[in-house]
């Protein structure tokens, strides 16, 4: 029934169905085999009822296409490949069956044809992050105040970015803080005793006598609402805010006080506090409007509201034109407000925003570790990344840059001479080993335990965060270091780890992860160079599964640039798109990722090309209503931690 109706409804659906049938016919034989094999060897434990290890493959098999649960299936593939699953005590597939199963999975998952997918996804309504709130108030009111210091911190979940709608909650405690902050902001913006600052972006008019007041109020409110709501207000909205002002004046309060109340009302409005887009009642995907596009651009590139030029282009309906948009991106990247791509995007992507929260030392034993040093370390990495974009450098410079940003304290830490004062500034490294990201203390410290490096954590950080190729989770019965290994105190830490990693099940991941991490062993847990650790010389040589041998940070840089550049480019693309859209990426974003990536690569991985391509991408301009709010039901891997 549903099928017939679907066909009648639109030709597009009919075409899509044809494509699906063709696809089915192609993979039909394989399909039957694969599902049957899964049923005989996996679903005993991993069906909807038992869900052993909270893995429900029955549900995952029903979620088509299988790439919907890409990570889960990748884990399944690696488990079957390595022989971890099915467990030894259970029925084992014959080698022919195992091969068939892996081929089927490869066909369905790895080789999946994404060209059949066309879904831009959906950017849900969300509140502003604390950084966005702060920046928006700054630009809207022309104020430089820290209003968010006592806000409850933004917590982060799986997407890794705090602008992800699914972790941005608005609870009474925060609402109270909003109200308090807004009170303070409008008090500062509209002083009662003196005329406001001439440069105030709010008071575009100011009455010189009572007669001029109504017109001035109209002008101010109209313009303010456009900027605060990031779209033209409706007549009704404008009227409501105007009423607040009128009522205040009727009570005998001054013009400025009336303005305070009107502005305050606009700022408490959900049209200001929430970032929302207008829905269209359709099952098809649709373009976001010009004002929404302006906000998408400004919150992505500036973590703040659009400026007047963006508003003007939106009003003229020209912003979505490719050449206009490209020029705007270039213009916006030249603005210092785009520093947030380093201080927010890169900081959260690469994890160095956690510095200072994670590493807190007692000031008696470690007087060198000051809050100002940690702040400088963070700034170094943030400014470095932002400058790659501003100067349109190729991505390889992230790894190889010969220059960096330091102030006196950080320069001393790196043993760089001749830097005086607290200002961060551009300097050239004199020591080759410090070039690029791997020489930066911020990332070296956040990937360490207090007082102790963790080559595994560093290796995992490189594979997972930096390159987006995480090792599969450890096999279910993998222990931590074996006790008898640990007891053997004559061995170095590295030798012990190597023994642990010889276990074939552990080895498959560790042989990739460990050499990467060990190549940075000359950096201690806070990023200081050392040649010995607990009296033993450091061995920073490594060999990748590909056979490449390398040593130390210099070798690591070459490995990344020579062998891993495609992974790095793909990861920065995915992360950038995820941050731009304020959501986790889904399987249907893959076509956009590939398109951006190919243009990015063609231009020698120049950073501005990446940014422009993200802003030109399909999901950045379109949205599609979700089928239902809980459409992600089929995600089945539980995350115990």
């Amino acid at each position: 029934m549903g099928l017939i109706r679907g066909i009648n409804r639109s030709r597009g659906t009919w075409l899509a169905l044809c494509l699906i049938f063709v696809g089915l016919a192609k993979g039909l034989a394989a399909e039957v085999d694969g599902v049957a094999l899964m049923e005989s060897y996996c679903l005993d434990c991993h069906d909807g009822e038992t869900q052993k290890g909270e893995v429900n493959l029955e549900a995952a098999l029903e979620a088509k296409p299988l790439v919907k649960n890409l990570d889960l299936w990748k884990t399944v593939i690696s488990r079957v490949e390595n022989g971890d699953m099915p467990p030894k005590k259970k029925d084992q597939p014959s080698s022919r069956e195992k091969k068939a199963l892996l081929e089927w999975l490869d066909h369905e998952v790895v080789q999946f044809d994404y060209s059949t997918v066309e879904d831009p996804g959906y950017e849900p309504v969300r509140r502003l992050t604390h950084i966005e709130f702060s920046n928006t108030i700054r630009d809207l009111l022309g104020l430089d105040m820290n209003l968010v210091a006592d806000f409850p911190i933004d917590l982060s979940g799986k997407s890794g970015f705090d602008n992800s709608a699914n972790t941005l909650f608005l609870q009474p405690i925060l609402m109270e803080r909003y109200l308090g902050a807004i009170d303070k902001a409008v008090e500062a913006a509209a002083p009662l005793k003196v005329a406001p600052n001439k440069k105030s972006p709010v008071f575009v008019a100011w009455p010189s006598d009572e007669g001029e007041e109504p017109e001035a109020a109209r002008k101010i409110i109209n313009r303010f609402l456009l900027r605060a709501f990031r779209r033209p207000p409706t007549k009704h909205e404008e009227g409501e805010v105007r009423t607040i002002y009128d009522r205040s004046r009727e009570k005998g309060e001054s013009f400025a006080m009336g303005m305070r109340r009107a502005l305050g009302a606009a700022l408490v409005s959900p049209a200001f506090l929430l970032k929302s887009e207008q829905a269209k009642d359709t099952d098809e995907s649709y373009r976001v409007d010009e004002y929404e596009l302006a906000s998408r651009l400004s919150y992505f590139l500036w973590a703040s509201m659009p400026d007047d030029e963006l508003f003007r282009l939106a009003a003229e309906k020209r912003l979505a034109k490719p050449d206009v948009l490209a020029r705007q991106v270039t213009r916006m990247l030249a603005d210092p407000k785009s520093d947030t791509l380093g201080s927010v995007f890169a900081a959260q992507w690469l994890g160095f925003d956690a510095l200072g929260v994670r590493v807190r030392l007692d000031p008696i034993d470690n007087p060198w570790c000051t809050d100002t040093l940690m702040a400088a370390m963070k700034k170094e990495s943030a400014m470095g990344f932002a400058s790659l974009i501003r100067d349109n450098k190729p991505l390889t410079e992230l790894i190889q840059s010969k220059t960096t940003y330091v102030n006196e304290e950080l320069a001393k830490f790196y043993k760089l001479k001749g830097v005086k004062g607290d200002e961060m500034r551009l300097v050239a490294h004199t020591d080759k080993r410090r070039y690029g990201l791997f020489g930066q203390a911020s990332v070296l410290a956040v990937t360490s335990s207090p007082y102790r490096t963790s080559p595994i954590r560093r290796g995992e950080w490189i594979l997972d965060s930096l390159l987006g190729t995480p090792p599969p989770p450890p096999p279910p019965d993998a222990g931590e270091l074996d006790e008898d290994i640990e007891d053997n105190r004559k061995l170095t830490f590295r030798q012990k780890l190597e023994m642990h990693s010889k276990d074939p099940r552990c080895y498959s991941c560790h042989r990739e992860m460990d050499p990467l991490g060990f190549s940075l062993e000359n950096y201690d847990w806070f990023g200081r160079w050392r040649t010995k650790s607990r009296g033993r010389s450091i061995d920073s040589k490594g060999r990748l599964p590909s056979g490449t041998e390398f040593e130390g940070p210099i070798g690591l840089r070459e490995v990344i640039v020579d062998e891993k550049l495609d992974d790095l480019a793909r990861q920065v693309t995915r992360k950038m798109l995820s941050y731009a859209l304020g959501r986790q990426l889904e399987y249907y974003d893959e076509p956009a990722v590939r398109k951006i990536l190919s243009a990015f690569k063609k231009d020698g991985h120049r950073m501005q090309t990446l940014l422009r391509e993200v802003c030109a991408s399909y999901p950045f301009h379109f949205r599609k209503n979700p089928v239902n709010a809980d459409s992600e039901k089929n995600k089945t891997v539980a995350d115990n931690g």
Partner: protein
């Protein structure tokens, strides 16, 4: 509106809650309260069993790590073999401790609303704050991890935001409202705008607008409450309980900070500002240093892996090491005992407040415990939990609840909800309340 006025702070509506030495006896038993105190990282095996227990389950002597709780052994039930079948681990276990569900990080879901929030929904409309969610400020790795910092869930996908700041917690309970630029007219306006925004956005986004509206309504309600209270008598609250408005900022000393937070919960319960509250004594994988305790070295999480003395567990710091497992375990136990001491302080406070028909403690149901069993093994079985308080005469305290098999914590949650007057017959995976609260097990 939310700005504070004046420095002289009084608790203006507390006269109704005067201790009975001052005011006439209220014939009616004061309403029951429910409190939750969470600590992370589990405990060492063997440290939760009392030394001596009577045949009928009565506690005769606790153990050496619990000796601070000895004076309160008649007010508590010590659990054995309590578990959370669906939630485990530092992240997932923390997020589901009070929901009885299972956690999904990709969907951000705790499997259901938490017991404190369900209670708040039912009894919270009669109090200044429907519930109180407090946390000690996190330290170290994972301080901004969502699951590790969220035990209270309004619904499966909406964690309650927690307050770490004693001053703001106090102010939300006790400060009078004053006029800011956002007055009642503004609230009406934004309510109206939220409703029209609701029409503008898609079906999938309705929930987010509702979240906004509910947050606003909560603030509005609190303002109205405060409004009603102003002008009431400021009579003699001082004798009742010594508590000054906390200074701005977080106290440096961890014990002072924790006791201040406990005081705030006691104060909230006692004054009637709220009837349900939760306090996270640390985030779910705390790697805080407790070296202010004599003889303790290393971070809490490192110590919790007490059977590994290699100095190479996740949060080991490379400068602290241990000669023997028992030495490391003792340090771990000392951290647990330190928390018992703070808990004992809170029990003492609550016991000292006479409500006419028993003490505040008698009229409360408190859960104190962790979402991990043995910290080294990381299990969800045999969780360290203590049920404290008399439940308004509905709990037979002073016993060891030694279940022979795994017994779900959800049953305790259900029992508490029913006593608090929530009309529920089932919760998470259970459909009957914990019978051990009144009967020998």
């Amino acid at each position: 509106m939310l700005r504070a006025v004046g420095a002289a702070v009084t608790l203006p509506w507390l006269e109704a809650m005067q201790p009975l030495s001052v005011l006439a006896v209220t014939p009616k038993r004061p309403k029951l309260r429910a409190g939750y105190l969470y600590f992370p990282n589990g405990v060492a095996k063997g440290s939760w069993e009392p030394d001596k227990v009577e045949r009928d389950g009565r506690l005769r002597r606790l153990n050496k790590w619990m000796k601070e709780l000895e004076p309160y052994k008649k007010d508590i039930l010590i659990g054995h073999n309590i578990w959370t079948p669906r939630g485990n681990g530092h992240g997932a276990g923390t997020a589901t401790w009070l929901t009885g569900g299972s956690y999904s990080g990709s969907r951000v879901s705790a499997g259901g609303a938490s017991v404190d929030q369900i209670i708040a929904r039912h009894v919270g409309r009669d109090t200044m704050l429907p519930s109180l969610e407090m946390s000690m400020r996190g330290e170290g790795y994972f301080s901004n991890s969502l699951p590790r910092n969220s035990i209270s869930w309004v619904n499966s996908k909406l964690p309650s935001t927690r307050d770490i700041n004693p001053r703001t917690i106090y102010d939300r309970m006790f400060r009078k409202a004053s006029e800011g630029v956002t007055d009642k007219g503004v609230i009406d306006l934004v309510n109206d705008q939220a409703k029209s925004l609701k029409r503008r956005v898609g079906q999938a986004d309705q929930r987010k607008i509702d979240e906004y509206l509910e947050a606003l309504r909560a603030v509005e309600k609190r303002m109205e409450f405060a409004e009603k209270q102003t002008g009431k008598s400021e009579l003699g609250q001082a004798e009742a309980i010594e508590f000054k408005r906390p200074p701005v900022g977080i106290p440096e000393d961890h014990e002072t900070y924790m006791r201040t937070m406990m005081d705030l919960m006691v104060l909230g319960f006692w004054s009637g500002a709220t009837r349900v509250g939760s306090l996270m004594l640390d985030h779910g994988q705390s790697n805080r240093y407790f070296d202010f305790i004599d003889g303790v070295r290393g971070t809490w999480h490192a110590l919790s892996h007490y059977r590994d003395i290699s100095g190479k567990t996740e949060d080991d710091d490379g400068i602290n090491s241990w000669k023997t497992v028992s030495q490391k375990r003792d340090m771990y136990n000392a951290v647990t005992a330190w928390h018992h001491r703070q808990f004992a302080y809170m029990l003492g406070k609550m016991k000292s407040i006479d409500e006419g028909n028993g003490s505040l403690l008698d009229n409360t149901m408190l859960l104190y415990g962790s979402s991990l069993g043995d910290g080294h093994a990381h299990g969800e079985e045999n969780l360290p939990v203590i049920f404290a308080g008399g439940g308004g005469g509905t709990v037979r305290s002073g016993r060891y609840l030694k279940y022979r098999r795994n017994y779900s914590l959800s049953k305790y949650h259900l029992a508490t909800m029913q006593r608090m007057g929530v009309p529920v017959e089932e919760f998470a995976e259970v459909d009957s309340p914990m019978s051990g609260l009144t009967k020998h097990v």
